[in-house]
């Protein structure tokens, strides 16, 4: 599919999904919401980390910062503006840490992005306790569920569309070159430092905005719940299990794992996570290219 066709398909899916608030029960709508959220997180993670092979664990930091933008500003700003501001905070934070740490690679990068996220979490906890004498914040007059759903839907479509455009652009090509051989890409004229910071910052808009959009679902916000590293881990797992170098892989696996986890987690918490662990190990060992590689293998067998 060409980029144009992919964009058209995304738009068509969006139009169908937009009808959900009129059709689905509250339970199913919240299920759809969590699918959309993880799809957007996984797609935006894979946007940068897929082609470059960087392993960023900063997603929860962007998400948490976005959520705190809402927590701090919802009384004075309209919901839509807070969401936008959350995204921009994500971008700014990513640009800042990107400039400082994108020269590190492999496990170092994973560890420092995780560390920076935790540092932010604990700094916010400390600031809130010391200067505002509060452990968390209550969100009053949250928008209704349909408004939240549409906002998250728009963000998800935006993330997918951005990913499509990046893949088709020189930026995407440069990222692939960086992933394959960064120094070679440099000698062929790519300003790799700028490209990496730009793409990392761009990809952070969505987790930031999603944090701001989803914050109102909590009614009570505290740093530990919105900076939860599990959100970041789950995003990475979904993207990599789906196939981070593909567009559709992270979406499919995000939807699949969100549904599975929503249905099973509450009923059989321990058994579910135990099985998830086993599944994860099996997938990495026997299907390292992600679910997308399975599709491609079948496609080749058919042809």
């Amino acid at each position: 599919m060409s980029a144009r066709e992919q964009l058209a398909a995304t738009l068509a899916c969006g139009a169908v999904l937009a009808a959900a608030p009129w059709l689905l029960s509250d339970f199913l709508l919240s299920l759809a919401l969590s699918c959309l959220m993880y799809a957007a997180l996984a797609v935006s993670w894979a946007m940068f980390c897929g082609p470059t092979h960087y392993l960023s664990l900063a997603t929860s930091a962007f998400f948490g910062l976005g959520a705190y933008v809402t927590a701090w500003s919802l009384e004075s700003l309209p919901y839509g503006v807070a969401v936008l501001a959350g995204g921009l905070i994500g971008v700014a934070f990513a640009a800042l840490i990107g400039a400082a740490v994108l020269h590190l690679r492999g496990a170092y990068f994973a560890v420092i992005t995780f560390g920076l996220g935790e540092l932010t979490l604990h700094l916010i906890t400390y600031t809130e306790k010391t200067y505002f004498h509060t452990a968390g914040r209550i969100i009053s007059d949250a928008p209704d569920n349909a408004a939240i759903y549409w906002t998250v839907l728009v963000l998800t479509l935006g993330a997918v569309a951005t990913a499509i455009l990046v893949r088709a652009s020189r930026l995407g090509l440069a990222l692939r070159g960086i992933g394959a051989d960064e120094e070679r890409a440099q000698t062929l004229g790519v300003d790799t430092r700028r490209v990496k910071i730009l793409a990392f910052a761009l990809s952070a808009f969505f987790p930031g905005a999603l944090g701001a959009a989803m914050a109102v679902r909590w009614t009570y916000i505290e740093p530990l719940s919105v900076f939860n590293p599990f959100i970041g881990f789950q995003t990475v797992l979904m993207a990599m299990l789906g196939g981070a170098h593909t567009l559709i892989g992270p979406i499919v696996s995000a939807v699949f794992f969100s549904l599975v986890s929503e249905f099973l987690r509450l009923r059989f918490p321990y058994v579910f996570l135990l099985l998830l662990g086993l599944l994860l190990i099996a997938l990495i060992l026997y299907l390292p290219g992600g679910l997308a590689s399975l599709l491609r293998r079948r496609g080749r067998a058919d042809a």
């Binding site: 020189r170 090509l173 440069a174 692939r176 070159g177 394959a180 051989d181 120094e183 070679r184 890409a185 440099q186 000698t187 062929l188 004229g189 790519v190 300003d191 790799t192 430092r193």
Partner: protein, 256 residues
């Protein structure tokens, strides 16, 4: 005399205590084909790393068309028209041969549009190199010799005015070596670029270049007309125990 397109002035590169390149001066002018030879470990490739910005020199200056680029990142050198190949081919293995060349055209080549018209799209470049039939093949699936050719294609995609070639003919038969040398001369003639060419097949190299510089233990020990350099006492001394200056090109041993 025209201004040098690429000039290294007293360039020094150190690795810890080891001085790999020691105060080397080297120039290449418009349309000039310069050979760079020396025994293994003489610092040839390290000098190329410095000339292309991959390694910042510890001392000395690098001028491209008169502009001082010392300490700049590789992409700045590329943007100023310095393109290179790597001894061990570093093509993007998962991309097709055509996309590899297109990559260069899209980045380094893009800022230098209209630098020259002869090689302006990936297919023409691949065709010129005799890789036309392999354009859709993943670069990693090509033979090492063809990957070296593709390296030249990528360098040409950067629309260079200075071309640095690092052992592109390694492992070729004498006949192929001759074809390769003709290819390089054609590139030089048609594009008017300055070429600096490292090759272990010294005899073939000497018969094609107008000038040759010799490195030994990081220092430049000779620079001038190939026939004069071949008779230079210091050069013969440096090569003693190594391969002889006049030995048969295709059968020379190579240590990676």
């Amino acid at each position: 005399m025209p201004e040098a397109l690429l000039a290294a002035r007293a360039v020094t590169v150190r690795f810890g205590g080891l001085v790999a390149v020691d105060g080397v001066d080297l120039e290449a002018r418009h349309g000039e084909l310069v050979g760079l030879i020396g025994p293994n470990g003489a610092g040839k490739t390290t000098l190329f790393h410095a000339l292309s910005g991959v390694l910042a020199p510890d001392a000395g200056r690098l001028l491209v068309a008169g502009e001082d680029l010392t300490g700049s990142a590789p992409h700045v050198f590329a943007a100023h028209g310095v393109a290179r190949t790597f001894q061990m081919p570093r093509v993007f293995r998962d991309m097709s041969a055509e996309d590899n060349v297109r990559f260069a055209l899209q980045f380094a080549g893009r800022t230098r549009r209209h630098a020259h018209d002869a090689f302006d799209d990936a297919r023409t470049i691949l065709g010129f190199l005799g890789l036309g039939a392999a354009s859709a093949v993943a670069a990693g699936a090509l033979t090492p010799a063809r990957q070296r050719l593709l390296e030249i294609g990528m360098a040409l995609g950067a629309r260079p005015r200075v071309l640095l070639l690092d052992e592109i003919a390694a492992g070729l038969t004498p006949a192929e070596l001759e074809t390769c040398a003709q290819l390089i001369r054609r590139v030089r003639d048609e594009l008017g670029v300055a070429v600096i060419w490292i090759e272990h097949a010294v005899r073939v190299l000497m018969s094609h270049v107008e000038r040759v510089a010799v490195l030994h233990q990081g220092r430049k020990i000779a620079d001038g007309d190939p026939r004069a350099v071949a008779k230079d006492a210091a050069v013969i001394e440096a090569y003693l125990g190594e391969e002889g200056v006049g030995s048969e090109g295709g059968r020379e041993r190579r240590v990676a």
